[in-house]
Amino acid sequence: MTTKRAVDITVKVNGKEHFAAVEPRLLLVHFIREHLALTGTHIGCDTTNCGACTVLLDGRAVKSCTLFTVQADGRELRTIEGVGNSSALHPLQEGFKEKHGLQCGFCTPGMIMSACALLEKKPHPTEEDIRWGISGNLCRCTGYQNIVKAVQYAAEKMSASASQA
């Protein structure tokens, strides 16, 4: 067998449907970055360790370097581009800015996606919950202290606005 069949897929990314014919071996992170040009999702280690490529698949945080694009067929993805934008920051993005949760910023999109998934499950996390929630994400600059504070900031802000609503 010399030619490998491309597979037609439909995937909803940040609320928008995309149709594509992809090679089965195309990793999800390459599809996101190269086909959809959403380069906020980073490739760090490429070995399922660092979490820079974390996206939400049907609401669950996954490492997009360890998933084939075909596996996302018919499913829903959320990337950092779907979290907020420069004119309307998500509370997590605001928290990272306010609490100095980043230095070089390389791990930040993955950190925010993991934190997003955590806050959806646990809107009032303890510090231990937060450290547990980001345990699959590596940061080589901050020592995590300010990342934890950033997530705490977001949790407080989100629960304050939820109780006002």
């Binding site: 067998m1 490998k4 069949r5 597979v7 090679e23 089965p24 071996r25 990793l27 490429d46 070995t47 399922t48 360790n49 979490g51 974390t54 698949l57 669950r60 945080a61 996954v62 490492k63 360890t66 998933l67 084939f68 075909v70 596996q71 067929d73 993991s114 998934a117 547990w132 929630g133 345990s135 699959g136």
Partner: protein
């Protein structure tokens, strides 16, 4: 890292998946969570011609008690074990194990079936299932057969599964009253494979005498190891510190790790001894809290 090109199949039913396996034989691999297989494919340690994705087959994700067994569907994700009330309340050994596997993102995809079928002695569920005397259900062209976990791990990355069989369920005999278990894993950081790990499960009577003992070792040899001499030694004895210590030494005798970047073999053997002590002690505590 880019895997070698392959053809992708996504059967909707188990018979369809099995017939694909029959058709493609050794050229095919089953894709479950993919968290072990995809890294191996990226490093080209695995180069299947066909990938059979079983994730669309319904009815393989469940955790339930039935006919005197805890039954876990092969596609059950590690994250679902963590979230299960049944596992949280009655199966502390399985809960400990699920928590110790990789990291949250990996656990959202990784499956219990895949963790066993991969046949990697560094994976965590094998030791746990050895301690729990589980059975593995394999489904093939002639239907189901049940394989005792002790006979399941043949050699490194090789299990008793035939090329045309799929692991579909894990069955764990319901533990008697006053049972408890614990898993201890020595790891350098979150997400690392175990330097070594020890799973222990015990059942005690009203006087604290051991009725059943199960001990499994992670990454302590070419296959997952059932520390049977230690298990046998404990049966019928009070689970006091002296007997636990003796059992830990017997478990360490069964460990045959190799020296590697996680440490020299003699260090790992010492760690098996220590972790067996800790796992048994915690298992006994948990068992005596049970009514």
């Amino acid at each position: 890292m880019i895997p070698k090109a392959f053809d992708y199949c996504r059967p909707k039913t188990l018979p369809e998946a099995i017939s694909l396996l029959q058709q493609h034989g050794d050229a095919a691999k089953i894709l479950s969570g993919g968290e072990s297989l995809i890294p191996m494919m990226k490093m080209r340690l695995a180069q299947p011609e066909y990938l059979i994705d079983i994730n669309q087959i319904s009815g393989l994700e469940y955790i339930k008690e039935e006919d005197g067994y805890l039954k876990i569907g092969a596609l059950t994700r590690e994250a679902d074990l963590e979230a299960s009330d049944l596992i949280r309340s009655k199966y502390p050994l399985i809960l400990d194990t699920a928590f110790s596997i990789a990291d949250p993102q990996v656990r959202n995809l990784a499956t219990v079936g895949g963790n066993l079928a991969h046949g990697d002695p560094a994976n965590d569920h094998p030791a746990t299932m050895l301690a729990l005397n589980a059975e593995v259900v394999a489904t093939g062209p002639n239907g189901e057969r049940s394989i005792p976990i002790k006979e399941f791990f043949v050699s490194l990355f090789t299990t008793a599964l035939q090329p045309n069989e799929i692991l579909t369920e894990i069955r764990i005999p319901a533990p008697p009253a006053k049972s408890g278990g614990a898993y201890f894993k020595l790891e350098r950081k979150v997400g690392d494979f175990a330097t070594v790990g020890v799973a222990a499960q015990v059942a005690v009577d009203a006087k604290g005498v051991c009725q059943q003992a199960g001990i499994g070792l992670t990454n302590a040899g070419g296959t997952p190891i059932k520390a049977e001499k230690a298990e046998e030694f404990l049966r019928g004895k009070p689970l006091d510190d002296g007997n636990i210590s003796q059992a830990a030494s017997l478990a360490a005798d069964d460990a045959h790790p190799s020296s590697d970047l996680r440490g020299p073999a003699e260090y790992k053997i010492s760690m098996v001894r220590e972790l067996t002590k800790r796992a048994l002690t915690k298992a006994v505590n948990r068992a005596s809290q049970e009514r």
